[in-house]
């Protein structure tokens, strides 16, 4: 049994709680136990770093300090926004003793920037693809997924240091190991519109439409994401996109944990797949 700290962030406890259901079910089957961070707070998301540098470090830093206090050396943040902010704070703290002192004072906890932050893919890699493959009961031979990484999973590369930031391949490797045939396509790391969904929906509709269209053009049977925001824009907004552009995409958008879960024999309800907007 591998134990890792777990930082859900706002999305997994709110609008994207289906992701949490899926992640928990999937990791449980893979033999990873999650220990949720006690008294965690917001990572700062887009708002903090566009307003105040110190706030943008202090918010994630408090979560890192909590993890350290509770003896967690590794912390899973399934939302890429959260993991990026945690990584960035880690880097800033590791680089500057002065900042460490200031932030420790602000968050009233000792911070050192030494907690290792993991995204969901890294936890699966930690389990090991061989180990995962051994547990497969339903190979995904009928799936031709287009793996969509979005903007933050691999960027900024200096901060997150994960995969090739322009041509990533880690999700493909996992899905191929499960028997699926991931398609090679062009929009793996393009922007889906992210939070613009509230400010200017039109932008989201256009950008997400391009992503869905390119996946369809490369004969994908579904899309796989590892980000709650991407899921919202591609799944929940898909009906709006189809209406706006007068097309039918009909692409199911899975979380990576959904497909791993299916391959490991977990049913759709337990994974929360039935709560998606686009369903079979």
């Amino acid at each position: 049994m591998i134990e890792v700290g777990y930082y859900p962030g706002c999305a997994l406890h709110g609008s994207s709680n289906d992701y949490e259901t899926s992640v928990r079910a999937c990791l449980d089957k893979l033999g990873v136990s999650l220990r949720e961070l006690d008294d965690w707070i917001c990572c700062g998301a887009t708002a903090a770093h566009s307003l105040n540098h110190k706030l943008a470090v202090a918010l994630p830093a408090r979560n890192l300090a909590l993890a350290k206090r509770d003896g967690m050396h590794e912390l899973l943040a399934p939302c890429p926004m959260c993991s990026m902010e945690l990584h960035r704070a880690n880097r800033a703290l590791a680089a500057c003793p002065q900042l460490r002192r200031e932030i420790s004072e602000i968050v009233e906890l000792e911070v050192d920037g030494g907690t290792r932050v993991l995204n969901f893919i890294e936890v699966v890699q930690k389990v090991g693809l061989e180990e995962m493959t051994r547990k497969v009961v339903r190979p995904l031979a009928d799936f031709r997924p287009a793996c969509y990484y979005g903007c933050l999973l691999t960027r900024p590369p200096r901060d997150v240091q994960f995969d090739d930031c322009e041509q990533p391949g880690s999700m493909e490797a996992i899905l191929a190991a499960l028997g699926a045939a991931p398609v090679d396509w062009n929009y793996k790391t393009e922007c889906c519109g992210a939070g613009m969904t509230l400010a200017d929906e039109e932008i989201v509709l256009e950008l997400s439409h391009k992503i869905l269209s390119d996946a369809a053009a490369h004969a994908a049977s579904c899309i796989v994401v590892a980000c709650p925001m991407c899921h919202v824009n591609l799944d929940m907004k898909q009906a709006d996109i189809e209406r706006r552009f007068g097309v039918r995409h009909d692409l199911i958008v899975y979380y990576l944990s959904d497909l791993i879960g299916l391959a490991l024999g977990i049913d759709e309800r337990t994974l929360g797949i039935d709560r998606h907007f686009v369903v079979k």
């Binding site: 680089a95 290792r116 090739d164 322009e166 041509q167 929009y187």
Partner: protein, 717 residues
């Protein structure tokens, strides 16, 4: 009264000012006294320089001079506004004669600047030049301090130390070492060929070492050259042939430098000649072998993978030597033991399947390094599926441009590949046809600064030639595809040079190249076309171009193995791997290793004219050396007191120049008396490391002895 030699010398010296050139009518020849002065009889002159305001502003030079005049052993002290000027030097010479000085201290700038100047002046007056010392009161004092009182006090201390050192100076004589008047040129590109021909034409033997099967380098693969659009091969191949047939040039193609021993004037270079599987004497270069070789589908390195060649091949038709080579990894006979068609077809019987690599040793006096460049690797090198975990805070080195899809899309190529598409000897016979389907591209996008000037990917420098060759590419493309359109994404257009900017304007104004100032964010392939998304920062808008071919102007990097070679030669290199010249302005082709010169792109990005100019400069420097019968070196080197040496050989291990040998002292009958360390005067650079490590205090440095250092310290306390 019997005059002793000493009194006679004093008398002669006193007369010297009267026996000047006007009276005798002929130029006075100074007789240099190689005898060291007696320490207690020291008569040292101290000369304090103002350096205009550079020193005098912060240091009270008059006070320094009057303090110096009181120091033990000082006969006179004076100041001068510019000690290095003609009147300044004349003053020193005059004082040497008038005061019968036994030593000189010049308190001025760094010895790097003018030690040679002052030593020469003293030498002209008959004083041994190694009895002249400098106190650096500019870089070490006036330039780095503000407080005048403190700076003056420090200057006095510095002068006192120099005086103490001078009192203990010994007269030294320059060392002479033998010289092999034969040169080696490493790298057979245009720079190497030029250097070799220049040296050979002057009548000296040259060994030209080239890694590839043919000389010619990168230039042999180019189409036409800027800014005149000369055909590259037409101007290069005659020079290649000349080098190949020159009686003074020995070619070592398909060979690499294995090791370098020795020192300036006396290098011993081991060259590894790779197995070519061809008898070079018997082969006539008729071509029967490669025309009949069945293993035809091997990527041609000369065409950068765009074309194919046979297993036995010559890289290109004009290769020098025009002898084939067998690619051992592709040859059916060598890999599977079958075939052997080439041996059957060869009338001359020149095929040698049992050929093996061998070593040859060349003895040379000078080495010219011209190893050239390679292109930056555009593909990402690290981090695909499973990145290695790195500790937080240590940034992963970034490299490569995954966003351009090089290596992923067949029609995204680099600029050297495009040169082959334009070249009449290239895989398409000079027609511009794209690699994926052989169609003529109607829309071509060129991206400059791929790797260059991008700190995020690790290369901060400008590759200098890309702006020019990209302009050339757009022109040549337009000349071949009249209805085609070239688009160029650039950061800045850097076209300094004779007729260079005019050339770029011609590409834009006459040949209609579409220049966009901005970067490309991503290239994706959609139904056979490349969608290039970028920005035009002058228009302030995002741009999308549907291209048929994309050409990336990748940065110039030192060629593979340049660093290893530099280590073998003891030549410095910078953080990018380019070899370091001795001085960027005044010694641009010399290196810190005496007798080793650099030219061409191994020293930094540069174009053909500059490479050729540097190559000729290297040849010039080599010939200056060869104009002498033997070499003289500075005598300030280490010496081991062999009677005292305990033969622990700590110095042998510590010496960074491998200048100390283990030697044996034998009596007349050949019996071993003792072992000792011995300094090779040709190799020693006088760094003093051996002096510091010697436990028995047997090693010492002439001109910087331990005794002198103690005296300098003593003068301060």
């Amino acid at each position: 009264m019997i005059w002793s030699a000493a009194i006679y010398r004093r008398f002669a010296a006193a007369l010297r000012p009267f026996v000047n050139e006007e009276i005798t009518g002929k130029k006075k020849k100074a007789v240099i006294n190689h005898r060291s002065p007696k320490k207690n009889m020291a008569r040292i002159g101290v000369f304090v320089c103002w350096c205009g305001e550079n020193i005098a502003r912060t240091v009270d030079v008059e006070q320094v001079a009057s303090a110096a005049a009181e120091m033990p052993g000082v006969a006179c002290a004076m100041t001068c506004k510019y000690m290095c000027s003609e009147p300044g030097q004349a003053a020193i010479r005059h004082k040497i004669a008038e005061e019968h000085l036994t030593g000189v201290v010049v308190a001025s700038c760094s010895p790097h600047m003018h030690l040679r100047t002052f030593r020469k002046a003293a030498e002209k007056e008959g004083l041994n030049p190694y009895l002249v010392e400098m106190a650096n009161i500019r870089e070490h004092c006036s330039w780095v301090h503000q407080d005048r009182t403190q700076a003056t006090a420090k200057a006095i201390d510095l002068v006192a130390m120099a005086v103490a050192k001078t009192r203990n100076d010994q007269a030294l004589a320059p060392i002479t070492i033998p010289l092999t008047r034969r040169a080696m040129v490493i790298g057979g590109g245009v720079a190497g060929i030029q250097a070799a021909l220049d040296i050979a034409d002057a009548g000296y033997q040259v060994a030209l070492v080239e890694r590839e099967p043919s000389i010619g380098g990168k230039m042999a693969g180019l189409s036409e050259t800027f800014p005149t659009l000369d055909c590259s091969q037409c101007i290069l191949t005659p020079r290649m042939v000349e080098a190949g047939q020159h009686p003074n040039i020995t070619l070592h193609t398909y060979s690499e430098v294995e090791s370098v021993e020795g020192y300036v004037g006396n290098f011993r270079v081991k060259v590894r000649k790779k197995a070519r599987y061809i008898d070079m004497e018997k082969c006539t270069g008729c071509g029967q072998c490669w025309n009949h070789c069945p293993a035809k589908k091997n990527p041609s390195a000369f065409d950068y993978g765009l074309g194919q060649r046979t297993a036995i091949y010559i890289p290109f038709p004009q290769a020098v030597p025009a002898r084939p080579v067998i690619d051992a990894a592709a040859c059916l006979k060598l890999t599977k033991g079958k075939c052997g068609i080439c041996a059957k077809k060869c009338q001359a019987g020149a095929i040698r399947f049992d050929d093996e690599e061998r070593m040859v040793t060349e003895e040379v006096g000078a080495i010219v390094v011209a190893t050239g460049y390679k292109l930056y690797s555009i593909e990402k090198k690290t981090g695909t599926a499973y990145p290695l975990p790195t500790a937080a805070g240590t940034p992963l080195p970034l490299s490569g441009y995954g966003e351009y899809g090089y290596g992923r899309y067949a029609d995204v190529i680099d600029s050297l590949q495009f040169e082959r598409l334009l070249s009449a000897s290239g895989p398409t016979g000079g027609e511009v046809r794209r690699p994926s389907d052989g169609q003529v591209p109607k829309n071509v996008v060129f991206i400059s600064c791929v790797g260059s000037r991008d700190n995020a990917k690790g290369i901060a420098y400008c590759s200098k030639i890309c702006c020019m060759y990209t302009a050339k590419h757009t022109m040549l493309y337009k000349h071949k595809v009249h209805d085609g359109q070239a688009h160029v994404f650039y950061m800045d257009i850097r076209s300094g040079g004779k007729n260079y900017d005019e050339f770029v304007r011609r590409a834009i104004e006459q040949d209609g190249a579409h220049y966009l100032r901005g970067r490309v964010s991503k290239i994706v392939e959609q139904s056979g076309r490349l969608i290039v998304r970028g920005v035009d920062t002058l228009a302030g808008e995002a741009v999308t171009i549907e291209a048929d071919l994309v050409v990336l102007a990748a940065a110039m990097c030192p060629s593979d193995g340049a660093e290893t070679l530099a280590q073998k030669l003891n030549v410095g290199y910078d953080e990018n791997g380019f070899l370091s010249e001795s001085h960027p302005k005044l010694r641009p082709v010399e290196t810190n290793a005496a007798g080793v010169y650099v030219c061409g792109a191994c020293q930094g990005p540069k174009d053909i004219p500059e490479s050729v100019a540097q190559a000729t400069a290297c040849a010039g420097k080599t010939l200056v050396m060869f104009s002498r019968q033997q070499l003289t070196r500075e005598p300030e080197i280490a010496r081991v007191d062999e009677t005292n040496c305990a033969a622990c050989f700590a110095c042998v291990r510590a010496c960074p120049y491998t200048a100390i040998e283990r030697a044996e002292i034998r009596d007349r009958k050949g019996n071993l008396v003792k072992r000792t360390a011995r300094v090779n005067p040709g190799l020693c650079m006088g760094c003093g490391t051996c002096v510091a490590v010697c436990p028995s205090k047997s090693a010492d440095l002439a001109g910087f002895s331990e005794q002198q250092i103690y005296a300098m310290v003593e003068s301060l306390v």
